[in-house]
């Protein structure tokens, strides 16, 4: 039962407490627990794929990947909350300072970084043409030809690339999206 896991909850209250209220943490923990079919305190990729609405999302695998740090295939509750913290609305920022006074996880920049990493498949801080193509292919399935997709990728890189290295760096990415309301599009509001 939920009240038994207070120990676990207490252990999770380091950085994440700044982003979620106590009742939200409890609710998230309940959700984490219900996804954790193996009951071993950590989620695997399969646990995420069991969510039908996520399984039909064209970028489902990339999103699931965002939860897992480099080279690992289990995510514990702290990691779960940490990733979700990126999606807190920005106006709730009064109390949420990073634990080492760095930028809060749900700042505009960090939200953009999250999205950037969805494109950046090999985590080399650059979106190459090949990576862009692969992500595009995930989003459109079989409905667009290779040539057309290639042109779309070329054009996108051409417009974004300012230093001529035929790939998009994070600062170029930020520039392209400077007019987009990132805060609203990449936020999830809790009801309570």
């Amino acid at each position: 039962p939920l009240w038994c896991d207070k120990v676990l909850l207490r252990a999770s209250r380091r950085v994440e407490i700044a982003y979620f209220s106590h009742s939200q943490i409890t609710r998230l923990y309940s959700r984490f627990h219900s996804l954790d079919k193996g009951e071993n305190g950590a989620l695997s990729r399969e646990d995420f794929q069991r969510i039908p609405e996520l399984a039909i999302n064209p970028l489902g695998d990339r999103i699931i990947n965002a939860f897992f740090p480099e080279g690992e295939d289990q995510v514990n509750f702290r990691g779960f909350m940490r990733t979700l913290a990126h999606f807190r609305p920005v106006e709730d920022n009064e109390k949420s300072k990073g634990h080492d006074a760095s930028e809060p996880l749900n700042s505009r920049n960090n939200k953009l970084l999250f999205a950037f990493r969805l494109y950046d498949l090999d985590r080399d801080d650059k979106i190459s043409r090949d990576e862009l193509l692969q992500v595009l292919r995930m989003m459109v399935g079989v409905n667009i030809s290779d040539e057309q997709l290639g042109s779309i990728a070329d054009r996108t890189i051409q417009e974004a690339d300012t230093n001529g290295d035929m790939s998009i760096s994070f600062s170029e990415f930020i520039k392209v999206l400077e007019k987009v309301d990132v805060e609203q599009k990449m936020s999830i509001r809790f009801l309570h």
Binding site: L59, G60, V140, N143, I152, L177, V180, K185
Partner: protein
């Protein structure tokens, strides 16, 4: 062992004998006889009202206790925990393009010299921000999705003195704990043995009586006796669960030559419906005790039992079902088109097989009140025996049954649309959420076609339709 013990032995025997007789008489008078004749003394409803008052008190007491200790109370919220944007893929993409893009949207003038730039004002090209939609939707579904929560029991807003449904239990007050302890004693010490006895009586009566009726020659007498026997035994079983059922609109009860469809929450649904009317059951033949009961039942009236191998053959199944409904002397068939148990907060996809047969469909909506006992069978968590034990040690099973007006397939409607129409009617009546998702997702993976639909939609936005696709 001297003569000292004999008087006590005698006294003990006498006491046991008397209490046993009293017990059996009470059982007969208050439970078995009313079951046979279908009348009720109203004891169960009184019991239900008393319990409700106690639960309200218990919940208030917990809240008060929690407030005193400055402890937040975990309250489940049935409406979901996050606010989900109701915008569709198309709406959101157009909005992203309208609100913020470095690309010039109107007219032919373009920032780059790429020949691909389309002059269309709806700018159907790829934006790097398109990913936001999929990203947010994905995260929303990770935090709170509509489907997986239908496969586990609904959380209660007030506590019903059962440990199994409690999220806040700590020692709050002595009175509460005593009440809880008393509840445990009553349920396990008194109600459970009573119910188990009744269940045995009900099932054995069913087997014995249907076998006896089976020896009669076919005819009206046999049908009448078979119906009476079935009804009587199911009513005893209903009392074995202390099920308090309210039937609405009995004028719409299913008639011969039709199919009765209902939403499925647990195997108990069968008992609940069959204690108010006679149905032909459909199912797989089992071995052991279940098989024994099945064979006895089919002797008295024609139920439809399939061998495991026959179940896969859809044409065979459809043929047997339609043969049955065409014979007007046979009872209406009872089918649960969801194919699996759902937790009674929603109705999931109806399998179209029973809607292809082309006869009248009688929809029935069943809604359980979870405050007295959770009827949902979570078959991945509990086996059948465990489930029955939990059923019989709850306070009661309270439910409402609505008989909806009969429906038939209309002109130009295919089986799937008909099934969805019936499903919508059942969901509306029972106050359940109408879902398109397949109940089979409890165990199986979602079909790739759904993802392909999403991809197709997005592709349409990217390149538009055939006419306004820009030349490359």
């Amino acid at each position: 062992m001297g003569p000292f013990y004999f008087p006590f032995d005698n006294l003990l025997c006498m006491l046991l004998g008397i209490s046993f007789t009293v017990w059996i008489t009470l059982l007969l008078v208050f439970i078995i006889v009313p079951a046979i004749f279908g009348v009720s003394f109203g004891i169960r409803r009184l019991y239900m009202k008393t319990l409700l008052k106690i639960f309200e008190w218990a919940t208030l007491r917990i809240e008060r206790g929690a407030k005193e200790r400055n402890h937040p109370v975990y309250k489940p919220y049935t409406n979901g925990i996050i606010a989900k944007e109701p915008t569709s893929l198309v709406e959101e993409m157009t909005e992203i393009r309208r609100s913020g893009s470095n690309r010039d949207l109107d007219g032919a003038a373009t920032l780059s010299s790429s020949p691909l730039a389309s002059g269309s004002s709806s700018s159907s090209e790829f934006e790097m921000s398109d990913i936001f939609y999929f990203c947010r939707r994905g995260l929303e579904s990770i935090v709170d999705d509509e489907v997986t929560k239908r496969f586990s029991a609904e959380e209660l807003e007030s506590w019903n003195l059962l440990t199994r449904s409690n999220y806040n239990f700590q020692h709050i007050s002595t009175r509460l704990t005593v009440l809880w302890g008393l509840g445990v004693f009553i349920r396990y010490g008194f109600l459970l043995p009573l119910r188990v006895t009744l269940a045995f009586t009900g099932v054995s009566c069913l087997v014995v009586l249907t076998t006896l009726v089976g020896y009669l020659p076919s005819g009206r007498v046999k049908n009448f006796l078979s119906e009476t026997a079935h009804l009587m035994c199911y009513r005893i079983c209903v009392r074995a669960l202390t099920a308090i059922i309210t039937y609405h609109h009995s004028e719409n009860k299913p008639k011969n030559g039709g199919i009765c469809v209902a939403n499925h929450t647990s195997p108990i649904d069968v008992i609940i419906l069959a204690s108010d009317g006679c149905y032909a059951m459909v199912g797989q033949t089992h071995g052991g005790l279940m098989g024994f009961i099945q064979r006895a039942m089919v002797r008295a009236c024609p139920h439809i039992w399939f061998e495991r191998s026959e179940v896969k053959d859809r044409h065979l199944v459809a043929k047997r079902l339609s043969d049955h409904v065409q014979d007007k002397s046979k009872l209406p068939i009872l089918i649960f088109p969801e194919g699996t148990c759902i937790n009674n907060t929603s109705v999931m996809m109806f399998k179209k097989g029973s809607f292809e047969i082309g006869c009248t469909v009688y929809p029935v909506a069943i809604k359980y009140d979870p405050r007295f006992g959770e009827a949902f069978w979570n078959s991945s968590k509990y086996g059948m025996v465990n489930y029955l034990l939990r059923m019989m040690s709850s306070w009661a099973i309270v439910c409402s049954v609505w008989y909806l007006p009969p429906m038939s397939r209309e002109e130009g409607e295919d089986a799937v649309q008909f099934a969805n129409r019936v499903k919508a009617a059942i969901a509306r009546q029972g106050g359940l959420v109408d879902m398109l998702w397949d109940g089979g997702l409890k165990r199986g993976k979602v079909k790739d076609t759904f993802k392909e639909e999403q991809q197709k939609l997005y592709s349409k936005i990217l390149v538009g339709t055939q006419e306004d696709r820009s030349r490359s």
